[in-house]
Structures are given as structure tokens and as C-alpha cells.
């Protein structure tokens, strides 16, 4: 069953990874991962802490390039193009594949500037008013607008943890990338804010490809169509979310979902 699903998505998958290995110096953090991520859908990565979810996620837009001792092997392609090809401009890649980091990292600038930065460098707004619209709508989508609309000039670093997280989400969606990678985007959010972000993900799904790392099985079940389970650097199982949570192929998945792990 898994294989057929895979075969079905193979041709038109947005992202496809083959035999990906990641090393941090000597540490082998990702081992031989093969995965296909279909377009216009939400894929959730789950797995115990430290299993390599963030690491793999960072491979998908080559953010690992910035870590000094990190080495990636294997083959990852987006829209059929190998993103580790020397010809590929990582900048263009990242404009196409946006990312929300696990630890919120707002720029030490105003809230407005935090969101406007991406659109500005990509030339998405002609006029000041266009930019205002982009910023407002991005903040609205991230569910932060009401809290900050009166203080757009305040520094982004002076927000609460959850607010910063939403600011980073707003910053990422403001440039409307084709693929959005979200590393635990709701970890610091209350249920209502979470719901708002999940709604956003739902909305985005129509046009974008989304990969989300989450620790909440419920969230994975709610938002994703496919789920991938990592363990100790290996991809244990990748499957339709429904199947994964009801009838996983792998015993370890079963155990993890049941909370019998570790």
C-alpha cells in the first residue's frame, strides 16, 4: 500500500529526496532518507526530540549550508531540479522555499520591518501602500495583527514568545514562497492562536506546499495529508496521515503514536 502511494506521487511530487545523509562533523544525523512530498498538500514530520526532523527540514532549502561542520549527501530535488546542483542559486531556492525556524528569531528591527524585509528584497511592493497591505495581511494571516497593529514600530524582539513565533510565520508568508517549511510553528501558541495558524495552513494548502514539524499528534492529524515519522535519523515510515494514525505499517510508529516510546 505504501509503495503504491509513493509510486502515485512520484511523478508529480514537489520535493523528492533520495538517499539523503547528513553529518554534523562525525555525527550521522540523517541516515539514508528517501521521501516524496506532494505539491499543494501538508506533510507533517513527527518523531521524538533529537531524531533529525529540523535537520532534514533545513536540508530542503539548504539552510544547512550555514552550519560550518554540516555535510549533506544524497539528492534532493524540487520540481525535478536538484537543489544541491552547483548551478542552483541557493538564494533563489530560499525565496521559493520559505522557512519558519524552531526558535523564533525576529530581526532586531521594528515589527513592520520584520515583515516588510522579505517583500522588499523580492520587490513585491511597488508603493508604500502596497507594502502596508502586504504587512497587514501577513500579520493577519499569522493571527498577530490585532495584538500589534497599534505598535508596528515597536521592536520585534520586545514581543512575547508566542508573538515572536507568529511574527516569524508572518515574515515567512509575506514573501509567498511556493513551499513553506515550518519547524514547530505552534509550539509557543495557545490553542486559539494555534487554531488560527492551522487555519492559515489550511488556506495556504490550496496553492502552496507545506511541510510542518510538530510534536502534537493531534495537530499532525488535523492539518496534514501525509505524515513522515523519523527516529534516530532514519525515516521510519511515510504515509497518508489517516492511515498513519489508524493503522501504521511500522511498529515503532505505532509505539510512538501510542506514547509507548523511549
Amino acid at each position: 500500500m505504501t509503495t503504491t502511494t509513493k509510486a502515485a506521487t512520484m511523478n508529480d511530487s514537489k520535493i523528492s529526496a533520495r538517499k539523503v545523509q547528513v553529518f554534523y562533523g562525525d555525527k550521522h544525523a540523517i541516515k539514508d532518507v528517501d521521501i516524496e512530498i506532494p505539491p499543494r498538500s501538508v506533510t507533517a514530520f513527527i518523531g521524538p526530540s533529537g531524531c533529525g526532523k529540523s535537520t532534514f527540514l533545513r536540508c530542503l532549502n539548504r539552510m544547512n549550508d550555514t552550519i560550518a561542520n554540516c555535510r549533506v549527501e544524497g539528492h534532493i530535488s524540487i520540481d525535478g531540479e536538484n537543489i544541491y546542483d552547483p548551478k542552483v542559486d541557493p538564494v533563489q531556492l530560499r525565496a521559493k522555499v520559505g522557512m519558519v525556524f524552531q526558535k523564533p528569531n525576529p530581526f532586531p528591527k521594528s515589527i513592520y520591518e520584520n515583515v516588510a524585509y522579505g517583500p522588499r528584497i523580492h520587490g513585491l511592493a511597488r508603493k508604500k501602500s502596497d507594502m502596508d497591505d502586504i504587512v497587514a495581511s501577513a500579520l493577519q494571516k499569522a493571527g498577530l495583527w490585532n495584538e500589534v497593529k497599534d505598535r508596528l514600530d515597536a521592536p520585534g524582539t520586545g514581543l512575547s514568545g508566542g508573538q515572536q513565533q507568529r511574527l516569524c510565520i508572518a515574515r515567512a508568508v509575506a514573501v509567498s514562497p511556493e513551499v513553506i517549511l515550518m519547524d514547530e510553528p505552534c509550539s509557543a501558541l495557545d490553542p486559539i492562536a494555534t487554531a488560527k495558524v492551522e487555519e492559515l495552513i489550511h488556506e495556504l494548502r490550496a496553492n502552496y506546499t507545506i511541510v510542518i514539524v510538530t510534536h502534537s499528534m493531534q495537530q499532525a492529524a488535523r492539518v496534514s495529508q501525509r505524515t513522515a515519522m523519523f527516529h534516530l535519523g532514519e525515516l521510519v515510515e511515510e504515509n497518508d496521515t489517516d492511515k498513519m494514525f489508524t493503522n501504521p505499517d511500522d511498529q515503532r510508529t505505532q509505539d510512538y503514536i501510542m506514547g509507548r516510546f523511549g
Binding site: 560550518a68 542559486d89 538564494v91 528584497i121 520587490g123
Partner: protein
Amino acid sequence: MSPGIVVLVVAAISAVGYVLGRRRAVSLAARERAKLHSLPAYYGQTVALFAAVPALVVLVAWLVVQPLLIETRVSDMIPDSAIPEGGARSLVMADVRRIADGLDAVLARGGISESELSQMQADVTDVRGLLAGIGVALGNDVPPPVFEAAKSYRQISKTGNIVAGALALALSVGFALWAYRRIAVDLRARNISERFVRALLVSASTIAILTTIGIIASLFFETYSFFKIYPARDFFFSTVWNPQFRGGSDLGILPLLWGTFYISLVALVVAVPLGLMIAIYLAEYAGPSVRSLVKPAIEVLAGIPTIVYGLFALVTVGPFLRDWIAQPLGLGNSSSSVLTAGIVMGIMIIPFVSSLSDDIINAVPQSLRDGSYALGATQSETIRQVVFPAALPGIVGAVLLAASRAIGETMIVVLGAGATARLSLNPFEAMTTVTVKIVSQLTGDTEFASPETLVAFALGLTLFVLTLGLNVLALYIVRKYREQYE
């Protein structure tokens, strides 16, 4: 067409290129309803860069080469007979240039016209008087060949300038047009301009290498001649430094190296703790107003001319140390000493440690401090065990910089520690450093080709190699240390 004007015109072309390039990118995008690869400004930048860079490179190259070419051309016009006995062609050429410049000035004044000038003849006109009238003084009267040479010098360089200007402008316009035509929606304009900026960055960092090569080259030959007339063994291993006027000097580097090391060490022992404590106090304890006053004030210490420190050492610190410490303890009665120079130099280099470290410490993220406070650490524990290690790589840089400054200082050592080379452990004795001796041997009254003067180059090169070794070591240690933590 003077080069200055050409540069201005090229700048103007490039500015126009920027505007047009930008506009074209925007309109293309609008027409094709496609998204531009880069921001419109980058398209403008590529056009501007193509308009400016090749033209300017050619212009600069031309300006360097042209005088050489003209020089040889014009120089051929001057018969040997026009060159005074014992003089040199280059000096006559200097006269030619001076006359040519003068003629330009005369023309600019409107005293005569271009055609009058070409009619003018040296044996008829009083060229010297003419030029003296506008403030160009000539050493002697102008022989006709020289005057003719000057006229053609003017002519050729004028033509040359025109050609160069035309070429530069042609290149500028040509490349600008080419770059303009190349603009397309998917042109990677940002990458082009960034590659260019990157090339600039790379070339900036190679300046260090060029400087090093220059230093080695300018020291090497004289050092070589030094070792031809003075045995290298004595230089490196003798413990006596005693240059003599009449030759037969002892020129052992060891006492100088020892003095350098000792005095720098004392200076660092003074400056590093003081500087670090100041940095820590300013970054962690002091309020913003205190900090914004004290930091620039301390930086003034680095700007006070070293002669002031030297006199301070000579007049105040030296006698104080002698009368209150050295003599009572029976450690000597010299008013100049290693300690005097070291302490005073230490004060001078405080800002190197304090200001740089202060910036680095200030840049350590607050969350680290919070993490430590939350464990019940006091502020000083936090600083010493969390903030300081995090800032260490930068602080090491600051300390190295301070040490470098200490090694290179002369005036304070001369006035504070004296000029006597000596190998001794007693910090109350006078000693001196390599740098001091480089300066004094180089600027002394001894003949240049003697070992007494040439030794300065050998000293310079040896010091250079030694500090290079120390720096390699420092880099190695810092690397090793850092690997544990990053």
C-alpha cells in the same frame, strides 16, 4: 579632456545607465507580465557597473602607461648635446615637464594663443622669463631642443588624453548599451552585481598579502647585504648589543628581543586586566550615560601622542619608581626601567583592550546572562563564567592588537626604558626594544652601507618573522580552544 572630466562623464553615463536599466527592467516585467529575477535596482546596478568599471580600469591603466610612453617618445627628441655634463636625461625630462606645465598655465591665463605658442621658439622668446611671470621657476635658460620637446610633450599628452578619454567614453557607452540590451526578465542581475561586489571584497582582503610582500621585499635586500658583512650567527645568538661608530660592533639581537618581550609583557600585564575590567564595568555595570562619556574618554588615551607618555614616564613615573621602590629595595637606581616603560605603555594601550572588548561583550546575547542569573549566579559570576567565555574570541583579537601596539612602540621605550640593550631579569633596570633600535640605527649618523645601519633591516625582518610565528601559534591555539565550544 582631463582625466577628471572623463571620470565625471563616465560617472554620469553610469548614473544614467542605472536609471535607464532600472526602468527597462520594470517595463519589461510589466509588458511580459513576468516576475523579475532580481529587484529592479540590481538591473540598474549591472548597467551602471558595466558602464563604469571597464572604462575606469582602462583609464587608470592608460594614465599609468601614458607617461612612460610619452617619456620615451619625447626623450628621444632631446639630443645628448642638450643634456648638461654630469646630468641625467631624467632631469632634463623634468624640465620638459615643468615647461610643458608652465606653457599650459600661460595658455590658461590667455597670455598667448595656441597658434602663437606653436610659432614660438626658445632662442627667440625668453621662455624662462615668460614662465617666471606666472610663477613657474626654471633652473636655467631653455635650450631650443628642450623647448621643442616640451611643446611636443604637451602635444602628445594632449592627444593621449583625448584618445584615452575617447576610449574610456566609448567603452563606457558600449558596455552600458550592451548591458542595457541584455536586460531580460530572467537576467540574474543580482548575482551579477553581487559577484562584482564579492570580487571587490576579495581584492580588499588581498591587500594584506600585498602589503606583506611589499614589506618583505623592502626589507629583504638590505638584510641580505647586512648578512654579507656581518655574520648571521653573531646576530642571532650573541648576547651583546654594542654598535660602534668605527665598526667592529657587536650586534646581537638577543638582548633586544628580551627587552621587547619583557617590556611588552609588563605593558600587557598592566593593560589587559585594567582594560578588561574597564570593558566589563562599562558593558555590564555602568549606566548608559556613564558609558557614553567614559568610553570615548578612555579612547582618548590611545590618541595622546606617545611623546607625552614618554615624558610622563621620564619625569614622573621613572623617578617615582626609583625613589620609592627600586632604591629602598636595593634593586638599582636607574630612573629609566622596564617597569617604567611597561606601565606607561600599558596605560596607552588600555583602550585597545577596553573599547574593543566592550563592544564584543555588549554583543553577547542577553539571553545567556538571563540563563545564568536564573540559576542564582551573581553578576560577576555570570560575567566571568558565561559572558567572558562567549566573548573570548573577540577579546583575544583585542589583546593581540594591544600586544602588537606594544611591540611597535618607540617613543615611550626610549624615554621610559632607555636605550641600553641588556639581558637582565631585574625590571628596574634600563633595557630597550627591537623597534627602538630599528628607528635609531636607521636614522643615525652612521653611513648607510655599514652593518650598524643595515642591521635595522635585519632587525625588522627578524621581528616580522618572529611575530608571524607567534601569530600562527595564536591562531592555532584559538582554533583548538574554540573547537571545544562552538
